[in-house]
Symmetry: C2
Subunit: 421 residues, 2 copies
């Protein structure tokens, strides 16, 4: 069984929005073992959508469409797909009641044109949408399946995960089990070297690396006759990867981010943390605070962009700044130590660098960044050379700061942490 994707929306053709649904749906299909070879974007135009639909059903069993399910005349996805299957649209009273309830909950009256959203092709299944007014639609006929989803990611994602994935899994019949091994602090090429035999392996289990900024994710997947069999095949490979890459593996849980892993490490060791940032200007704190429940470990952080702020707030010495400059091992060391003392935090991460595009010199070029981490009084400072524009340098710095924090905490608290594992 294979499935292809059609994204309907003139706003995509005009570049008004980035098609993040594309990556989401593609990744989910891959994860449940449904092959997908094509994606198409087309505007809110019935004739062109029909031509694209014909092409898609010529080469794929399942076509998943997103967008164009709104209440206006411009929204033509459902009408066009119904026409393709020669089906009439009929009012679904239950869906109409759902839409009315959705508006009522928000203290608003349902408009007349929302009734269009409750019209469902005869014989099709309406997929309830708890996060918006457009229900999804599933049509199955003559060996072909069309699945229509609303465009907004906040509506599409839960609807797909809860109602479409189970349907596709059952339909494809293949049982697939996968574990995502997330790795940080080793380059993709080094990982490819160390895991070459596993990545090249052409058997029941596959290992696919995905490079992310500063991280590599390895998806270990097995097909089987039942989940137990597939699980059993994946387990020893995950164990082997962990034993080869050691502590560079920060999680094998899909939903755990790098910042979550750092916060978990702080929580496990009952440590508090503070940040003192120059070129990243608050983004490290911002990323730690992505983690719900971070308040247990994060109390305060500082952005010390000027030299004066570095002196005044975290006590960097005037002489240090004069002799070595703001972007130096020495300054970052004092920033980290000063922040830890001022905040009474167990861990402090400090950053100073040249994010560009201006401010670089021959000696200290754009992309030069120092990151320091103080754990219980002991400071480690590392020098980095990042490439790319201001945005890229800053984002790379944030990720490397999280990795350095993790390294330094592990070094000091290895026993406790590994006992916990």
């Amino acid at each position: 069984m294979n499935a292809e994707l059609i994204f309907v929306g003139t706003e995509l053709l005009l570049g008004n929005i980035v098609n993040t649904n594309g990556a989401y749906l593609a990744e989910r299909l891959a994860a449940i073992g449904v092959d997908s070879y094509y994606q198409t974007v087309v505007g809110d135009n019935a004739e062109r959508l029909m031509s694209v639909l014909k092409i898609a059903f010529d080469r794929s069993d399942v076509v998943i469409l997103s967008g164009g399910l709104g209440p206006t005349q411009d929204d033509i996805t459902k009408e066009t797909v119904a026409e393709y299957f020669h089906k009439e649209l009929l009012l679904d009273e239950e869906i109409k009641a759902d839409i009315a309830a959705y508006f009522k909950k928000r203290g608003r009256e349902m408009a007349e044109n929302n009734i269009k959203q409750a019209m469902i092709p005869v014989g099709a299944k309406a997929l309830k949408n708890a996060n918006g007014t457009a229900p999804g639609v599933l049509i199955e006929e003559g060996g072909k399946v069309a699945i229509l989803l609303p465009g907004p990611p906040s509506e599409l994602k839960p609807l797909f995960a809860e109602q479409v994935e189970p349907f596709l899994k059952a339909k494809s019949g293949s049982i697939l089990y996968s574990v995502l091994v997330k790795v940080c602090g080793i380059s993709e090429s080094k990982i490819a070297e160390q895991l070459d035999d596993l990545i090249q392996m052409q058997g029941k289990v596959t290992v696919a690396p995905y490079a992310k900024l500063g991280e590599v994710h390895l998806r270990v997947t097995a097909k089987g006759n039942d989940e137990k069999e597939a699980k059993k095949a994946v387990k020893p490979i995950v164990k082997e990867i962990k034993s080869r890459l050691g502590s560079a593996v920060y999680t094998t849980h899909e939903e755990v981010t790098l910042e979550q892993a750092v916060v978990d490490l702080l929580l496990a060791n009952k440590l508090t943390v503070t940040t003192v940032e120059s070129c990243t200007g608050g983004l490290i704190a911002g990323r730690l605070i992505n983690v719900s429940g971070v308040s247990e470990v994060f109390k305060s952080g500082f952005v010390t962009y000027s030299n004066k702020a570095k002196k005044r707030i975290v006590g960097v010495k005037k002489l240090t700044l004069q002799k070595y400059g703001a972007v130096s091992t020495e300054t970052v060391l004092e920033m980290a130590r000063g922040a830890a003392i001022y905040s009474k935090a167990d861990v402090a991460v400090a950053v100073s660098g040249i994010a560009g595009p201006d401010g670089g010199t021959a000696e200290k070029p754009v992309g030069l960044v120092y990151i320091g981490c103080c754990v219980c009084g002991e400071v480690t400072v590392r020098e980095y050379h990042f490439s790319g524009n201001r945005e890229k340098v800053r984002q790379s710095t944030v990720t490397e700061a999280l990795i350095l924090m993790r390294d330094c905490i592990l070094k000091n608290y290895a026993e406790k942490t590994f006992k916990k594992e």
Copy 2:
């Protein structure tokens, strides 16, 4: 003339990366007046790429492909397009020298397989790539044009802007001129109401609204026989929009972001700024520091996540926190004033809110955020109710904080600012 887009890469089909090139190329084509009705994603597979290529040339004059120009056997875009046009590939010595020079500059030796990248279809034009090893290719034959671009955005974008846009502009013959009017602090529906006649206008000049998080961008475009004529048609419409929307228009310069507009306002009025953040945890400071040259106005900022930090660092009173709670008008007012005093900054922005998913109550639900702005001692605090997940609430807060800062500065420094305009 119309153009369609093909993105080649199995990593897109697996959802490994988000297709940001799609939005970039679509927006640029729209901006230069080239119609584009279809986009297709296909994997690194010659047979499937060939089938997609045939479909594309059946319905479009120009096909722009990105990706699959690397040095490995998997990279098949150039070879497949050459086959479509029945063209052989020949070594381009100049391009080979460029690639060798690219490696030499980075202290590396050119590998044998990079020679593949210097092979160009007979009669085609190689497009030099200063940011990578894969040159672009332009093939024009029998009224059809194929343009091949490298996949990495840092290579694709400059190559497209510098070499492809001028070609397409000359080819389409139509002269198009547009101005982007960026608006903040008014909802999209309100703008649609106020500009209804302009947006519905079906003439020489078009006004297209694009909703962004907390902002609306209006693209005003005219076609003409020459640029002067098109410019002349756009000018009165932009003037009319500015007169209707007033100070909600923050710029008419494409490259100016909201944070840049705020920093420019601070610079123009010789004001310094500080931030004190709770739920956004550094992201407001982080966004201001996106602006290169912000060091003139931004010296320091604070993340006061705990109550203790709010008291200790910016002097929020214990009684205030006890009586009103951390998420309240009163606390945010004291945070803003305290940060301004401690930092000796003219402007201070303060934020406290419930980003979720936990921590909400019936009285103070998830999404409730207070933002305060202190300008020369006078504090304005506004209450907001944001929807969406933790990430969305935090990002909305950052944008609204910038908008509030802008409002408060304008209110206090209107004269100076408008004199400058």
